[in-house]
Structures are given as structure tokens and as C-alpha cells.
């Protein structure tokens, strides 16, 4: 794609939205040429990590297209997709990116005209938002947070928690669920930002200053990261420990 043009990546499920996009073509419904479509078998396949990676690599908008609720070729894949995309949106917000840049739509195989309409509308919206802007560190933190097991559990278990309750039989209300999600996403995101900062050894105070977080919050995250052996004590400087991220075997 040429510089200056907004870039949109679309992940479309094979059975409904991809077929709807084909029908738009067969019917010659025109829409702007900014989207590059990637076919997946089910919208449920689309991992938040991939979505955030797409933004990290410079997409101005990401479009996910699945079957209408109840139409999923694999029964519930689109339902799980919705939850994952909500999670990705929360992380985008944390990384300072407009969540509207990520859009999920249900488009059926017979909705060619609608697909073209959605494309026109979405491209227009992205054009209005302009080229994407973010701090690389922040988006990277969002990516790593999306890969973390805690958020992945939540994104998948949401339905169960809302409908059947947790292991104690406590059923969450929508409101409680939203609060839980907000809190967890922020926690994870902060933790991952700290982790990224610790590519070089730093003290709690230094991190708190750099990330504009309270030292006690940073300290709690540091304890957590140590528990999972993601960081280690680098040295003790004037009675103050500094920490550094453990280098993963093999590295990036």
C-alpha cells in the first residue's frame, strides 16, 4: 500500500463474511481499495495477539467479519470471537489507540451489498481517525498482555461466568464482569509495560517515574513478575534492588 493511504487488514470467516465479500464482487458493489483480506475458517480463529500485532505493524484499522449469531458454521466460534475482540479493544484503549479502529461485523453470505457498505463506512471512519499513532512500547505491551494466560482465560470464560457461574457457583452480572475485565486488563497491561521497561535493569522508583505509576503499584507488579520468574534481581544499589527481565531461551 502506498504511504499516506490508510491501511486496513480484514480477517474474514470462510463461510459467511468471505462469501459476502465475494458476493459484493459478483454484484459489482464498489468499495474503497484500502482493505487487504485474509481468509480464516472461522472468526473464532482470530487471536487477539494477531490483531494487536497487526496494529503494531502499522495497520490503521482491522476488520473482523464473521457469521451472524446463530449462523456460525462451527456453532459458537463467532461468539468466542466477539469476546476476544472485546478484549483486544480494551487493550487498544490501554495502549492509547482508538478502539474504533478495530471493528467486528456479522455479514452473511447473502449480504454482498451490506459488505460493500460496511467497507465504505469503515474506511471512511478510519480516514477520519487518520493514520494510527502509538508508542511502540505501549503496543508491544498490549501484544504481550494479549498473549498472557490470564486475559486469555477471561476472554474465553466470560460466557460461563455470566451464565453458569464460577467454581463457587457465583454468577457474575454484566456490570461485575465489565469491572473485572477493566481491572484485569489494566493490571496485565501495566505489568507487561513494566516487563518491557526491564529490558534494562531498573529500580521500582525509576519505573514508577518513567511509567507515571504509583511506586506501590509498580512494586506489586514486580513481586508478581518475580513469582512467575519473568524477571530477576539484577543488583542491589544503595540498599535498593534493581530488576531485569530474564532473557528467554532462544530469545526473539
Amino acid at each position: 500500500m502506498k504511504e499516506g493511504e490508510v491501511k486496513i487488514i480484514g480477517f474474514l470467516c470462510n463461510w459467511c463474511c468471505y462469501a459476502g465479500a465475494d458476493l459484493a464482487g459478483v454484484s459489482r458493489f464498489q468499495y474503497p481499495p484500502n482493505i487487504r483480506i485474509i481468509r480464516v475458517m472461522c472468526s473464532g480463529r482470530v487471536d487477539p495477539v494477531i490483531i494487536l500485532d497487526t496494529f503494531l505493524w502499522g495497520a490503521d484499522g482491522v476488520f473482523i467479519g464473521g457469521c451472524h449469531p446463530g449462523d456460525c458454521h462451527y456453532m459458537q466460534g463467532n461468539y468466542y470471537a466477539e469476546k476476544k475482540i472485546e478484549m483486544a479493544k480494551r487493550l487498544l484503549k490501554e495502549a492509547g489507540v482508538e478502539p474504533e479502529r478495530l471493528r467486528l461485523e456479522w455479514v452473511s453470505a447473502s449480504e454482498g451489498e451490506r459488505f460493500a457498505g460496511v467497507m465504505r463506512e469503515f474506511t471512511e471512519e478510519i480516514k477520519e481517525l487518520g493514520k494510527i499513532k502509538f508508542e511502540k512500547d505501549e503496543m508491544e505491551a498490549a501484544c504481550i498482555a494479549a498473549a498472557d494466560y490470564r486475559l486469555r482465560i477471561l476472554a474465553t470464560k466470560e460466557k460461563e461466568l455470566l451464565e453458569e457461574g464460577n467454581k463457587y457457583g457465583e454468577v457474575f452480572t454484566r456490570h461485575e464482569m465489565n469491572r473485572l475485565l477493566d481491572d484485569m486488563v489494566r493490571e496485565e497491561y501495566e505489568a507487561k509495560k513494566i516487563l518491557l521497561k526491564l529490558k534494562k535493569p531498573k529500580s521500582v522508583k525509576e519505573i514508577a517515574a518513567e511509567l507515571n505509576l504509583k511506586p506501590n503499584v509498580v512494586f506489586r507488579h514486580i513481586m508478581d513478575l518475580r513469582r512467575y520468574e519473568l524477571i530477576e534481581v539484577h543488583e542491589i544499589r544503595d540498599n535498593t534492588p534493581t530488576y531485569v527481565a530474564k532473557v528467554e531461551e532462544g530469545g526473539e
Binding site: M1, K2, E3, K7, I9, F11, N14, Y18, A19, A21, D22, A24, G25, V26, R28, F29, Q30, Y31, P32, P33, R36, I37, I38, R39, V40, M41, C42, G44, R45, V46, D47, P48, V49, I50, D53, T54, W57, G58, A59, H73, Y74, M75, Q76, G77, Y80, K84, A116, A147, Y149, R152, I153, A155, T156, K157, E160
Partner: protein, 568 residues
């Protein structure tokens, strides 16, 4: 991967459909500059026999090990190109399709330059994915050539007999001592009014006499293991444990009549259910000596009173019993208080009219004002609000008959857990797709029929019995089941056995099992349909969805977003 990548790219003009918008020669030239591409060419129609030949000869000439075709849509043409690759000795999954017609030239007809740019991007993305493709094989697994049918009511008997006639051994499992299910309790059948006992006798005989039907009476299911083609069903048959190997399982466990305890003064004597009435009639009591007024109440406990649904068969059943009483003894007054009357289909409307002609009286009440049964000093009065007259009509009754709905058997939940197949909100077994797969479960190799799936009449139960037989015969006749090649797999070194994947898989294809290393998820290839939801849900990202791997999808999006012109 150690082998050198040799990618061939074929770009289709599709006459003027692509070529009239996209600058195809420029795309070909561009494609030939991409990494790993050793050959690029254009065809007027890649799908024509010329085009296909040229793919095959290029595979040989340039020793291609990946093929990319940029043309129309994989939804119509992927099978053709895959087959072509295979004919030239290339694994069919080393092919990648790029859609530059339906999703490019046709939708950007007035933006020639941008359409060409887009086509180049799409080809670049396709090549990037192609570089990461792996050869895949469809898995096959042998099928034990016999069937288990659970439940020997009319639908189960029908299914069992048909599978036997199709040439396969059938185990027909019934928890009671005799076959027949609910039909055993019926007096006559609507609309022919033949005796249920005679109807049943013929069918039981046919099942008993068939050499390939093995009956297991007084038997209950203890456990079920395995998957399509290789199930093991553990039975308790008359107290003895038995193990049966089977390729397929049919659930035909039927339903039962709702017990209207606490409703409409139900007492089992003066206020009874339709089935209790049938049993009375069957005992030869069809004259109902001493009874002058019979009132039947429809939807008792159904359509929002206790259960939400309409039970489909109660209207016709009530009409039949009312008509039989009336015809046996014209002096008895028979009333049916109903809301909507379900005399659907070809024959029931006429049967309903016949009942009217016979003198059965119909009163319609609104659903929000259901009839009340008042009992005082041994006398019964049914107070019905007449919808059309907009007034209450008290009907004296010597006998009140409640048309109660069919409900699921209490042991269905246990069975559903053993088989890992779902029940719906109405507690009936829930089929794979409400519209298109009425007798399949989402889990391969397990089928359902009859009232276990929801209330239905005898004819429809028989139809479903045959239908389940057909579906179940398929793997038996094939002798093997084959999976999709595009399935997921688990990296056991990363998996922690949390079971999230198991919870999202609608097919029971991923299960957590004990291994030497501890609990680990395991994919049963023949069950997997390749949606990939397990992969995107895996908390450790330990699941690989083949052909749509994280690496492949990431390669596609990143390649799309890289703006630098590729240096040739």
C-alpha cells in the same frame, strides 16, 4: 524446513474480468521479484484446461514446491487447483489461493491503479503464506461395523431395523423388559384408528426376527468411551456388565408424559392425563360407564404454564380420544377446551372436522385465561373463558382429562454427559443444527431420533428413525472415517492441561488426558473440523491450527503492511 522454497505464481486474467481492471503483466513482473518465487506467469483463464496444464508443466519444469494462483475465489475453485497440484505430484495443501477478482477487480472497477497495487499486495501476502505452508494429509481411521441404538421405542426400533437391513449388526438397548416405548400405553392411533397393540406387534416381530439385530433388554448404559468408528459402550444388562464395541451410536430414548401434580386438581382418578385415559380405554372401558360429561383441557402445563414449548401431539391425541369416546357412546358429552389447535399437515385437519361431526365440542380459551377446575363435594366443574363469546362457561364434568406435554426423561442428563452431547433449554437432546442437521449431533458418529429430540408423532418418529439409520450407516458402509486435513494439534511441551480448549470445542475433538508428563490436551484428528477456536483460546498458545497457523496469519498481515518496495 530444510528444502529450498520454490514458489510458482499464476495470475489469471479471467478474460477481462481481472485483466480489464488490474494490470496483470505488471503483477506478474512484480511477483517474479518476490522472495522464493522462481516462476511467475499469467493465463487468460487459469482454470481452463490450458491453464491447468501450464501449472502442471511448470511444477515439473521449475521443480515448484509451492503454488500460488491469483484469480477468483477459493470458495469455488480451490478444489480444482488443489487437485491439479496433486496430479503433478505436489501435496494439495502446498497450494495458496489469492482472490484478485471477487475481492479486487470487481469491487474497484474504477480505480485501476489502486486495484493493481492491491493485487500486488495480495499476491505478496499469498507468497508469504505459501512459504510457510506444510504438506497435510487427511487422517483415516477404521470403523467397527456395528451400531448401538439406545432405546427401543418406535424410532429406535425403526432405526435398528433399517441399519440391520442395510447389512450391519445392531445392538438395540432398552432399559425396560420389553420393546415398544410409549406406544405400549396407547389405545388407538390417529388418524387411522388402528390398534396400537397390533401396530406394535408387527414391528416388534420384525425386529426380533432380524438376524442382525441383537436385543439387550433391561439394560442401561454405564459408560461410553471413544469416538466415531471406535466407541465402547459399557452396559449393565440384567445386573451383568457387558462391553460393546461399536462404530456409531443412536440416541432414541424417547420422552415421558409430564406429571401435572398440583395443577387443575389432578388426582389420577377424576382428573387424569391423556395417557391414563388411553390406558382406561385400552382396558375395554371405552364406554366409560357412569360418565356423562368429559372435559379435556389442552396445553395443561405447556406453552408457558410449566414448560415453555408446545408439545405438538396433544391436540390430535385429545381429538382422537374424544372422538373414540363419542363414537362408542354418543350420549357422553365431550368437550375440548383448547387455545390454538394443532391440526397440522395433510390429514389432521380433516380428522379434526370428523371429530366435530361426531359431536365433540370445541371451546377456545385465550392462553392468558386458562380454564380452572373447581372441585366441591365430589363434583367437578371446569370454568372455561370462551374467547369468541368473551364470557365464562362452567362445564360440569365427571371426568377431566389433561393434555399434558411430553417432557424429557430424568435420566437423559446422565446420558448426555456420558455421550458428551448437549441438551437444549427445553431439556430435549439438542441436534447439531436446528435447520440442516435434525438427526445428527455435532459430535461425529452420534445421532438422535424420535421424541428424545422433541415431541413428535409416530409418523415423524419413524421418519427420523430411518433418517438416523441413514446417517449412521454412512461410516459403517464406508468402513473408515476420514478427518479434515486442516486440523489443530497440541504442543505437549507447552500445554498445561487447563482444559479451556476442551470447553470451547463443539465437537469434543480436544480433550484433556493423563499422560506421563501430567495432564495434557489431545486432539482426536477425526473429530476436528478445523475452526481454530481452540488455538486462539489456548492460554499458553500451545495449539497450532494447521494451514491457518499464527505464523502464517502474522506473515500475511505483516507482509501486507510492509511498504518498502521489494528490492529485486
Amino acid at each position: 524446513m530444510t528444502e529450498e522454497l520454490r514458489i510458482g505464481v499464476f495470475i489469471c486474467h479471467c478474460g477481462i474480468n481481472i485483466g480489464g481492471v488490474v494490470d496483470v503483466p505488471a503483477v506478474v513482473e512484480y511477483a517474479s521479484t518476490l522472495e522464493n518465487v522462481v516462476h511467475a506467469e499469467r493465463n487468460l483463464y487459469t482454470c481452463s484446461s490450458d491453464g491447468l496444464e501450464s501449472i502442471k508443466s511448470a511444477i515439473n519444469e521449475y521443480e515448484l514446491n509451492r503454488v500460488v494462483v491469483a484469480s477468483c475465489t477459493p470458495r469455488t475453485h480451490e478444489p480444482l487447483f488443489r487437485a491439479t497440484c496433486e496430479e503433478a505430484g505436489l501435496n494439495r495443501y502446498l497450494f495458496e489461493f489469492v482472490n484478485i477478482r471477487d475481492q479486487c477487480s470487481w469491487v474497484h472497477m474504477h480505480e485501476l491503479e489502486k486495484a493493481t497495487e492491491k493485487a500486488k499486495d495480495l499476491v505478496r501476502m499469498g507468497v508469504a503464506k505459501a512459504a510457510l505452508l506444510e504438506p497435510l494429509e487427511e487422517l483415516t481411521s477404521e470403523v467397527t461395523p456395528s451400531a448401538v441404538v439406545i432405546g427401543a421405542g418406535i424410532s429406535g426400533m425403526t432405526a435398528a431395523l433399517s441399519i440391520a437391513k442395510n447389512g450391519f449388526h445392531v445392538h438395540l438397548i432398552e432399559k425396560k423388559r420389553e420393546m415398544g416405548g410409549m406406544l405400549r400405553r396407547l389405545y388407538k392411533l390417529y388418524p387411522t384408528e388402528e390398534l396400537a397393540a397390533e401396530f406394535l406387534e408387527q414391528r416388534i416381530k420384525a425386529v426380533e426376527e432380524h438376524e442382525r439385530v441383537e436385543l439387550h433388554l433391561s439394560a442401561s448404559i454405564k459408560a461410553v468411551e471413544g469416538y466415531v468408528g471406535k466407541f465402547k459402550v459399557i452396559l449393565d444388562e440384567n445386573g451383568a456388565e457387558k462391553s460393546i464395541d461399536t462404530g456409531v451410536i443412536i440416541v432414541a430414548t424417547g420422552a415421558k408424559e409430564f406429571e401435572p401434580e398440583g395443577l387443575y386438581e389432578y388426582d389420577g382418578e377424576k382428573v387424569i392425563t391423556q395417557l391414563q385415559l388411553e390406558e382406561k380405554l385400552k382396558r375395554g372401558d371405552s364406554k366409560l360407564d357412569g360418565i356423562e360429561n368429559v372435559v379435556m383441557i389442552q396445553c395443561a402445563g405447556a406453552r408457558g404454564e410449566v414448560v415453555g414449548y408446545c408439545s405438538k401431539i396433544c391436540c390430535m391425541n385429545a381429538i382422537k380420544n374424544a372422538k373414540l369416546i363419542k363414537e362408542a357412546n354418543p350420549d357422553i358429552n365431550v368437550f375440548i377446551a383448547h387455545n390454538e389447535l394443532q391440526a397440522y399437515g395433510e390429514e389432521y385437519e380433516l380428522y379434526y372436522r370428523d371429530a366435530k361431526k361426531a359431536g365433540v365440542r370445541f371451546l377456545r380459551f385465550p392462553l392468558e385465561r386458562r380454564p380452572k377446575v373447581i372441585k366441591s363435594e365430589g363434583k367437578l366443574v371446569v370454568d372455561v373463558f370462551h374467547e369468541r363469546l368473551q364470557m365464562n362457561i362452567p362445564l360440569e364434568a365427571d371426568l377431566v382429562v389433561l393434555s399434558v406435554p411430553l417432557v424429557q426423561n430424568p435420566d437423559a442428563e446422565k446420558l448426555s454427559k456420558m455421550l458428551k452431547v448437549p441438551l437444549g433449554q427445553d431439556k430435549f437432546f439438542f441436534e447439531a443444527h436446528v435447520k440442516l442437521r435434525p438427526v445428527d449431533f455435532a459430535t461425529d458418529g452420534i445421532f438422535l431420533c424420535g421424541t428424545a429430540q422433541g415431541p413428535k408423532d409416530i409418523e415423524e418418529s419413524i421418519s427420523q428413525g430411518y433418517a438416523a439409520a441413514s446417517r449412521a450407516t454412512i461410516p459403517l458402509a464406508k468402513g473408515y472415517v476420514s478427518s479434515e486435513a486442516i486440523i489443530s494439534s497440541v504442543d505437549e511441551a507447552i500445554c498445561v492441561g487447563c482444559g479451556i480448549c476442551e470447553s470451547v470445542c463443539p465437537y469434543g475433538a480436544v480433550e484433556v488426558v493423563e499422560t506421563e508428563e501430567g495432564r495434557r490436551a489431545k486432539v482426536t484428528g477425526v473429530k476436528c473440523k478445523g475452526c481454530g477456536t481452540c488455538g486462539s483460546s489456548c492460554i499458553k498458545r500451545a495449539i497450532k491450527m494447521h494451514h491457518f497457523t499464527d505464523e502464517q496469519l502474522i506473515a500475511q498481515e505483516r507482509t501486507a503492511l510492509v511498504t518498502e518496495e521489494v528490492v529485486s
